[in-house]
Amino acid sequence: MHPKETTMFRWKRLAAVAAVVALGLTGCSAASGDGGNSAGTLTIGQILQPSTFAAAQSNWANESPYMQAVYDTLLTADTKGELQPGLATKWEYNDDKTQLTLTLRDDVKFTDGTALDAEAVAKNLVRFRDGAGPNASYLVDMTDAVATDAKTVTITMKASNPALLTYLSQNAGLVEAPSAFDSADIQTVPVGSGPYTLDTAATVVGTSYVFDKNPDYWNPENQHYDKIVMNVYADPTALLNAIKGGQVNAANTLNNNDVAQMEASGFTANPLELNWAGLTLMDRNGTVDPALANVKVRQAINYAFDKDAMLKTVESGFGTVTTQVFPERSAAYDKSLDSEYDYNPAKAKELLAEAGYANGVTIQMPSSPLLGTATFTLIQQQLADVGITVEYTEPGNNFISDILTPKYPVVYIPLQQGGDWELIQFLISPTATFNPYHTSDDTVNGYIATVQNGTEEEAAKAAKDLNKYLVDNAWFAPWYRPQSTYVTDANTTAVVQPGNAVPYLWNIKPKA
C-alpha cells in the first residue's frame, strides 16, 4: 500500500536491462568504491524521485528517506516495528480509543528558527487529512486536531483506528513549518525540523538531492553523516552501473536478478519480505463473473498454481511460498495455513465440477507488460490446465484505474503487506481500495470490528480468525512473498524496516 508497488509496476520491466550488464561483467572483479564516506558523505541510490516535499501531500515507503531527512515525525518505529517516541514523547488514548493525546518535546525548532509547537502539529495533521495526498485517507477518521497547550495536541476520531499510531510514525506524522504553508515553492523547498536540510542549489530536481547536516538538530544521535546525497536511478541498468562503479554507498533494488552481481561487487544484500504476489479474486459477489461468487471456483484457482515453480521461475527462487496475505510478523499469521492449497490440479478440476463448471470457466483479466509478460503467460497456462480459460485485456496506463473501477473479476498485481489494520483497510474491509466490489461478509465484518475495538488479545485472535477465514474462503490466491533487497557497500550498514520498502534513514550508518 505504499508506492513500492507503483514503482515495481512501473519499472520492473526495465529491470531486465540490468541483466545485460550482469552478463558482460561475469568474471570481472569488483570495482573499488570511490563514493566512500571519508568526508562524512552518504550517497544513496533511490529508485524513485520524491513526488513532493510538501508534508501534506507526501508519500512514504521509497520516498521516506527524503522526508526523514528534512522532517521529524510525531512518532517513530524501531527496526522491529515497535513504536518509539519522536516529536511526541508521550501518547495516550481515551477508553474507546477515539481521542489521542500527544505530549510534545519543547526543545525543537524548525530550520527557519520558529519553534515547533502544538499549534504547528495540529495544523499539519489537518492539512494532511485535507491535502488530497495519496495517503490522505490515513486521517480520514480524524474529526479534528487541537493544540490544548503549547506542548499538547489532542486528536479526536470518528472511530477508533488501530493503525493511527503507525500512521503518525509515517507521513501522516510529518511536521512542516507553518511559515512554509503559503510558500510558492512548498513542493520543492521543505522547511522542517529534521536532521538535514535540502541544499536546493546543489539539487537537481528529479535526479539528485543533496542534504546538509542540520547543526541545531535536537537529536544528534540520528545524524551519522555530514552530508547525504540521494541520487535517483530510474533505470535499473544505471543503478547497477552506479553500484558497480562504487558511486553509491547504499541502494534499494528493483529485482532479484542483479543481487548476485551486486554481491560480487562487494555489496551486502539486506533482504526483506515486503509484498505478497498472486491473484486478488475481487469479484466475490459475482458482479461481473458469477463463477467467482462460488467459493469452490475460488478454491480451485488456489489449487491450480504450482507455487514453488512460480517462485523459482518468476523470482529466481528469492522468497517464501504462502497462501496468506498477512505477513509473517503479523499476529494474524498462521504457518499451518501455508500448506492449505498445495498444488493439486486434480482437486481443482474436482472442485470446478462440484461447482457446476465441469466444462470450464472463462475469466477476464487485465494484463500489463510492465509486470512481466512471462508471469501472465504462466497464469494462463496454469489455469488452463484445470479448465479455466483466461482472456487478457491490456488497459495500458489505466491498469490500476480499471482494476479499481472495477472492470475485472480477478487481477494479478503484487501488493504490500503492511500492519494488520492497514492491510485490512487496504484489502479486506467493505470500503477497502482493493475491495472494489465492496464484498461485505458478516463474519469478516465481525472480525474487523473486534480488531478495531477489542483489546490487544481480542484483536490478535480476531485477526488470526479473519486470516483463516479468508484463506478457507479463498478471497485471494497468493503464491509467495518475494524478497526485496536493500544493498549496502563495505563501509555502510543498514537495518531493514519491516513493512517499509527501504530502511529508515537513521538506520543507515557507517560501519564501525
Binding site: S51, T52, A132, Q187, D235, N241, G245, I400, I413, T431
Partner: protein
C-alpha cells in the same frame, strides 16, 4: 533572406501551435484517470475525486486547453504534477544538458561520417562495403546495447569514466567533459550510419562533376578538392540529413540519459510520459518543437550559405 526567415518563423509558430493542440488532445483523451495515476494505487476513491477537483480535471477539455494556452503564451507551463517543480524550471535546468549531448553527438557523427563517407566514395570496392556494413550494424544494434557496452568496457572495467551522472561545466570543465564523453559516443555511433551513407552518395555524385577535374588540372591536390569543393557541394544534402539526425538524436538521448542517469530532457521525458505528467509533457513537447523549428531554420540558413543560388534567390 530576411523575408525567408520571417516566413519560416511564421510557419514554425503555426507548427508549434498545431503540435501542442494535437499533443494536448492525445494526452488528455488517452490520459484516463489522471488523478488516480498521480496518487497511485493506495489512495482511496474519495481522495482521487478530491485530487481531480483540485487539478480542475473535471472541467470540459476545451476549457482546460484554453486555460493551458493562456498561460503557455506567457511562458507559464504550470507545475509538474509529480515533482511539484515549475515546468519551465524543470526544462530550463535540463535543456542545456541534453543540447550539449545532442550537439556533441551531431558534431562527432558528422565528422566521422564525413571521413568514412569520403573514404568509401573514393576507394569504392571493399572499403565501401566495409563502411556500409559498419553503418548497417551501427543502425541495427539497439542504442541501449551500445551504451551498455561502452559503460562496461570504459567505465567499469577500465575505470576511465564515471558510469553514471553528470557534472556541470561550471563546476568542473574536465569533469563535464569526462561525464559526457561516453554518452556522446553512444549517441553518435547510431547516427553515423545514415550520415556516412548520405555523404558517400553525395561525394560520389560530386566527384563526377566536371569542375573537379578542372580544379585538379590547376594543380590542386585531390584531398584539397574533395575537402574544400566536393564536400561543400555535397554539404547540402548532408545538412538535410543532419537536421533529421538532430531530431532523431533528441529521441536517442531518451535512452542514453536513462542508462547514464544524466539529468537531461530525455530522462525527464521518459519519467513524465510514463507517469502521465501532462503539464511537464506539454512543456517538453513545445520545447522540442521549438528546438526542431530552430534547428531546421538554422539548417536552411546554412544551406543558403553553402549554395549561393539559394541564398541569392
Amino acid at each position: 533572406m530576411l523575408r525567408f526567415i520571417l516566413r519560416r518563423l511564421a510557419s514554425g509558430v503555426v507548427l508549434i501551435v498545431v503540435i501542442s493542440t494535437i499533443a494536448f488532445a492525445l494526452l488528455y483523451v488517452g490520459g484516463g484517470d489522471i488523478a488516480r495515476r498521480i496518487l497511485g494505487q493506495t489512495a482511496t476513491a474519495e481522495t482521487v475525486a478530491q485530487k481531480t477537483q483540485q487539478l480542475g480535471l473535471n472541467r470540459p477539455l476545451y476549457e482546460q486547453f484554453v486555460d493551458w494556452v493562456s498561460h503557455a503564451v506567457v511562458g507559464d507551463f504550470g507545475t509538474s504534477w509529480f515533482t511539484g517543480q515549475e515546468v519551465i524550471q524543470a526544462i530550463s535546468s535540463r535543456v542545456a544538458v541534453t543540447l550539449s549531448l545532442v550537439i556533441g553527438a551531431t558534431l562527432i557523427s558528422a565528422i566521422v561520417a564525413v571521413l568514412l563517407g569520403v573514404w568509401a566514395a573514393r576507394q569504392r570496392g571493399w572499403p565501401d562495403r566495409l563502411v556500409q556494413i559498419i553503418s548497417v550494424l551501427g543502425f541495427a544494434i539497439p542504442g541501449f546495447l551500445i551504451a551498455l557496452g561502452l559503460v562496461i568496457v570504459f567505465a567499469i572495467n577500465l575505470g576511465w569514466f564515471k558510469p553514471t551522472g553528470f557534472v556541470q561545466f561550471a563546476t568542473s570543465p574536465s569533469g563535464w567533459l569526462s561525464s559526457i564523453t561516453l554518452p556522446v559516443i553512444a549517441l553518435a555511433i547510431g547516427g553515423i550510419a545514415g550520415v556516412a551513407q548520405q555523404i558517400r552518395g553525395s561525394v560520389i555524385d560530386a566527384l563526377r562533376q566536371d569542375y573537379v577535374r578542372t580544379l585538379r588540372s590547376r594543380g590542386l591536390s585531390a584531398n584539397r578538392v574533395i575537402y574544400k569543393h566536393v564536400l561543400r557541394n555535397a554539404g547540402g544534402p548532408a545538412l538535410a540529413v543532419l537536421a533529421v539526425q538532430f531530431v532523431g538524436l533528441l529521441g536517442g538521448a531518451v535512452i542514453v540519459e536513462q542508462v547514464f542517469a544524466i539529468p537531461g530532457l530525455g530522462q525527464v521525458a521518459v519519467t513524465a510520459t510514463n507517469q502521465g505528467d501532462i503539464p511537464l509533457v506539454m512543456g517538453l513537447v513545445v520545447v522540442t518543437a521549438v528546438i526542431v523549428v530552430v534547428v531546421n531554420l538554422v539548417i536552411d540558413i546554412l544551406q543558403g550559405f553553402l549554395n549561393p543560388k539559394v541564398r541569392l534567390s
